[in-house]
């Protein structure tokens, strides 16, 4: 157990090694450690953000789907209503046309009946005159009895 100058040599070496470590070993390793810590922190927060983003997107998708479904329902309801309206209008128009046609036909029929009546009346007058002629066996002057015939026609109306 001797004390000697080795002690001071060791002391100086100690400081030199410590200085070297401070200069060339410690800072790069600490830098790498800090950078990695930051990277991990960033990665974690990015993952968190992605998660929230995903949740938001999913919520949006659900909303959009709901909206689309609603508008589709609305569209269908509108279309159905419009279709029903169109059918209704067509039906009304058809009914109108039918009514008109019926009215026209009725009018025509009335005119035809009138005309037939007139014709029948003429014929009845002529038959009456012919009948009377036969009965009387004498000629009847149609001109003379025109008034009589007109009256008869009138009565037959």
């Amino acid at each position: 157990m001797n004390l000697n100058a080795t002690l001071f040599a060791q002391l100086v070496v100690f400081f030199i090694l410590a200085w070297f470590t401070m200069k060339f070993v410690w800072p790069p390793i600490m830098k790498a450690l800090d950078e990695r810590a930051k990277k991990i922190a960033d990665g974690l927060s990015a993952a968190d953000k992605a998660k929230t983003d995903l949740q938001l997107a999913e919520k949006k998708v659900v909303d959009e789907l709901k909206k689309a479904r609603e508008s589709a329902t609305e569209l269908r309801a509108g279309a159905e209503k419009q279709g029903a309206q169109l059918v209704e209008e067509a039906r009304q128009e058809a009914a109108q046309i039918i009514a008109q046609a019926r009215k026209a036909a009725e009018g025509e029929a009335a005119v035809a009946a009138q005309r037939a009546k007139e014709a029948l009346r003429e014929q009845v007058a002529a038959l009456a005159v012919a009948g009377a002629e036969r009965i009387l066996r004498k000629e009847i002057n149609a001109q003379v009895h025109a008034d009589l015939l007109a009256n008869l026609k009138q009565e037959l109306k």
Binding site: L3, N4, T6, F8, V25, P28
Partner: protein, 285 residues
């Protein structure tokens, strides 16, 4: 060691405990003597350690680390955490934390020299020494630098200087001197010499115990390795010596395994005490 007669047990141990010096030591304290073996091995190991670490640090990636980088990072983070908990000045930590890392790694490696086979390096050295034309009987080599009191006291003195430096730097010279005379007992003028004596004893005790603790552990460990080696060397072809040889193998194994714990623990303790003492230099009484 090509000897005519095998060395006796005490010769063997004395040979292993003799330093390689530049000249003969005169007396207990001789400032003109250097322990060349301690210096060579400790400086060699220290340089190797810091250059390997610096090489790694230069290529350190903040991405996925390799195994060696991860291992070094574990040590660095451990030291950084301890430094942060003990030394509260970030400015001081810029030097003290790397210093603590150096202490831990360097002392651990120097202690680990104990785990090399006891005669490996001394025999190589004896062969070189003999080949150079000297008497191989005088080829001395102490392999474990931390089992040299000069090395450990040198480091603890460095820590003492660091404490004095930070005391003055943090508290200011005036305040520090004031504290030397008024702490721990009080500011009464009658108490000044007592306070000052207490402070001196405290500094001395810290430094000496700091160095002695490491030295004592490693010296004792080395000595026990030598005794175990003597058990192994007792082999002489008889049953009794054979049992001794087997005992040497078992004891050597057990002691080496236990020593793995001791070398790590002592390196850690030296580092922690360095941080604690520097941390104390930052605190006012």
């Amino acid at each position: 060691m090509a000897t005519e007669h095998a060395p006796t047990a005490s010769e063997y141990i004395v040979h292993h405990l003799t330093f390689l010096t530049n000249k003969k030591q005169a007396g207990l304290v001789d400032w003109s003597v250097f322990h060349l073996d301690t210096l060579f091995i400790s400086i060699g190991i220290g340089l190797l350690a810091v250059f390997v670490l610096a090489r790694l640090a230069a290529r350190a990636t903040s991405g996925v680390p390799g195994r060696f980088q991860a291992a070094v990072e574990i040590v660095v983070e451990m030291v950084a955490d301890q430094a942060k908990g003990i030394v509260h000045s970030p400015e001081s930590r810029k030097f003290v934390a790397p210093l603590a890392l150096t202490v831990f790694v360097w002392i651990f490696l120097m202690n680990a020299m104990d785990l090399l086979p006891l005669d490996l390096l001394p025999n190589i050295w004896a062969a070189i020494y003999g080949a150079a034309g000297h008497d191989p009987h005088h080829a001395y080599l102490r392999v474990v630098p931390t089992a040299d009191l000069n090395a450990t006291l040198g480091m603890s003195t460095a820590v003492l200087l660091l404490c004095l430096y930070y005391s003055v730097k943090i508290k200011g010279l005036g305040h520090w001197i004031h504290e030397l005379f008024t702490a721990p007992f009080g500011a009464h003028p009658l108490l000044w010499p007592i306070n000052f004596a207490m402070q001196l004893i405290e500094f001395l005790a810290k430094t000496v115990s700091h160095g002695m603790r490491l030295f004592g552990n490693m010296y004792a460990g080395e000595l026990i390795f030598m005794l175990i080696a003597l058990m192994g060397a007792a082999w002489a072809g008889t049953v009794g010596s054979g049992l001794l040889w087997i005992g040497g193998v078992i004891a050597g194994t057990i002691w080496a395994i236990f020593h793995i714990l001791i070398i790590t623990l002592q390196a850690f303790i030296f580092m922690m005490l360095t941080l604690v003492y520097v941390g104390q230099a930052h605190e006012s009484h």
